[in-house]
Symmetry: C2
Subunit: 446 residues, 2 copies
Amino acid sequence: MQDNLRTVNVGLIGLGTVGGGVARTILSHHDRYLDAYNIDLQIARACGLVWEQAEAVGITPEQFTSDWHDVVSDENVDIVVELIGGEHPAAEIYEAAFAAGKHVVTANKALLGRHVEAFARTAREHGVQLKCEASCGGGIPIVSTLERDLVGNEILTIAGILNGTTNYILSRMEAEGADYADVLADAQAKGYAEADPSADVDGFDAASKTAILASIGFSSRVTTDDVYQQGIRTITAEDISVAHDLGYTIKLLGIARNTAEGVDVRVHPTMIPLDHQLAKVSGAMNAVYVVGDAVGETMFYGAGAGSFPTASAVVGDILTLSEQISRGVAPLPESEPFSRNKPIRSMDELETKYYIRLRVADRVGALAEAVDVFAKHDISISLINQLEDGNSDSNACSVIFLTHKALEKNVQDAAAALAASDCVSEVANVLRIEDVDAWTDGVMAN
Amino acid sequence: MQDNLRTVNVGLIGLGTVGGGVARTILSHHDRYLDAYNIDLQIARACGLVWEQAEAVGITPEQFTSDWHDVVSDENVDIVVELIGGEHPAAEIYEAAFAAGKHVVTANKALLGRHVEAFARTAREHGVQLKCEASCGGGIPIVSTLERDLVGNEILTIAGILNGTTNYILSRMEAEGADYADVLADAQAKGYAEADPSADVDGFDAASKTAILASIGFSSRVTTDDVYQQGIRTITAEDISVAHDLGYTIKLLGIARNTAEGVDVRVHPTMIPLDHQLAKVSGAMNAVYVVGDAVGETMFYGAGAGSFPTASAVVGDILTLSEQISRGVAPLPESEPFSRNKPIRSMDELETKYYIRLRVADRVGALAEAVDVFAKHDISISLINQLEDGNSDSNACSVIFLTHKALEKNVQDAAAALAASDCVSEVANVLRIEDVDAWTDGVMAN
């Protein structure tokens, strides 16, 4: 098939952890791609901060530049691969690449979480494609699974462990009974968590990915700003232990549900049953649970970060585009992307069971007062568990309340009322117990 | 985008569990496919055994035929969807469809397990495609994941729970401590197992799927006949219980490894560590573990059978072809399929740890004789566990031997020698303890 042989030139922008992995993967797998696709995949230009960074991953002086404009304006470049992250200059790179008729492959969740729809539209107007498999779930092929393999389904639920750092922290807290601060410090020392861990532990990273997956899975516009966010800073070893005794584990999930009332989309620490498939995903691994109306329950598991796993996803996108380029096909989606315009459901309307941990004044009547506040907010309590306090010189104690199904707005109002009440020294945690059975509502019966 | 609207006509052959599910999925999702792909997907012809079967799934008299030739010769049909299973007349249907310039979508593991390479080649010669996502793992998008998403990787290992019936039986045996025969009978009564369970419990079904996945994942010809097969009939509640105490579960795995010495491909009951991700897949669910040199460890989980899950995979293939048809693209793979011609490694050369259960005469010296036989075959024993026998009037007892790493040929020779020896009344089981750490040999270090 040598007559079909086609050279495809990529221009890499960013040669850090991911970009360096992509460069090394392309260089070491050149013959495999010739084998699998009859594609002679070449790195035409590569933009990094400094030459030493480029040299270390096998880039030649002729390929190297430190100015991204050189990559985008190079007429040999068929595909621009943006791996610098962040909103700028990534947005300018896309605009310039599309205008020059070049496809873009990216792992940029921050930018696409806010603007995937707009960029997909611009790409389409220029007759090129934007591909972003690596933006969600690292090496897990979840974007293409939603875009193509499961397109025969109406996607009902997407629920993912989308951030490896927080899953690593929660897994270690569960395994060791350790406290959040101690595990975080150790994770930072080992390089598993950033010095400023906010993007991970406060849920921003997972929210961007949830927005992208919801947009693609539901063919409707969902942005990071639409995603309710709550991080894991308030989770204690005690919460995890109590949850475990109740038959649950606590995972930071990005959840997107395609309901009749609109798209329900949120990131928060979630109590899920210990025997749920997502509960069994531990350490820094990621997994995305997808429910389609025909296929039912599926899960896709793998490394959510790391140099080569992310490179696997980036190179998969590059090769898919390369195959289309080599056939001379305009690889356009046939229909307007994200055209469904589903409304976003207000978080206030969420209805589920809750786990609420209060620090209450250790005095007669405190429990009764708390119960009374719940009742006034139409919240029915299913279980109260007053914990023995390890800290014996404290004059407060922890009490766990589990609720029957209640309305989010009522629970938040009750929490505010309790926080202001004399009997409660702290509303330490309000966690949602996810109704995982509802995830499969709408699956066709076999 | 109404100007791009294109009607794609499928011809269904087979309206049983899977075919009926496909018909119902296409009919109920027509507007969604218009939305997602701008494809007006129509069932032009549908071939079933009897009219009542067709009517029940929404087929009209105009669409119905009971002769598959009517479907293949219908000039309106773009894609022939074969869902009757078995080798004939499926093979004749493919040949006729390809000759008529029609694509084929199928779920037929029996036929493709033996001949996927030959049919892919014939399809290519006629400028059409053969797609078989539903042939492996039911609704799990594993074929396309290997074909496209992970193509940036050298695939190192594929290990799957590919048969729901056997996983259901083993899971219930483990959960209930029940015996094989009892669980099988109950599964048959509930319709989870066939009256003749051989294709499932003897590993033929899993072997076909393993051959297909190995062929695609390694781009090399592997047929069902290349796959070593051992089923689950000999597994007892005692084996499962002892395995559990040793930190293992027993799963019927289809394993394909891409080694320097050739393709190692086999289906057998396998002891894997309880904390391995595949060990956590229970009931009738399927899962495929894939290790790529860049992406590392991944797993894909979902329903391996059933009307609508399988339909999800079939319709995914139909829509992928439809998108290509609507663009007027010849959807040919650029390179010769399965061209690598890797050798198949002889099972004799497998080297792993073993679990061997003997029934020995309860007399002094029997154990020593058995150990001696192992030693003569160069097999080093790591643990001997003489089990207390519930059956007290028996004059034999069960003894478990665990080995250090040993050569398959030596273990089989030793088992034959033991079976012929006076001291052993039965070699009740020879099970492999899989070296799951070796599955990731060759993964690139981050």
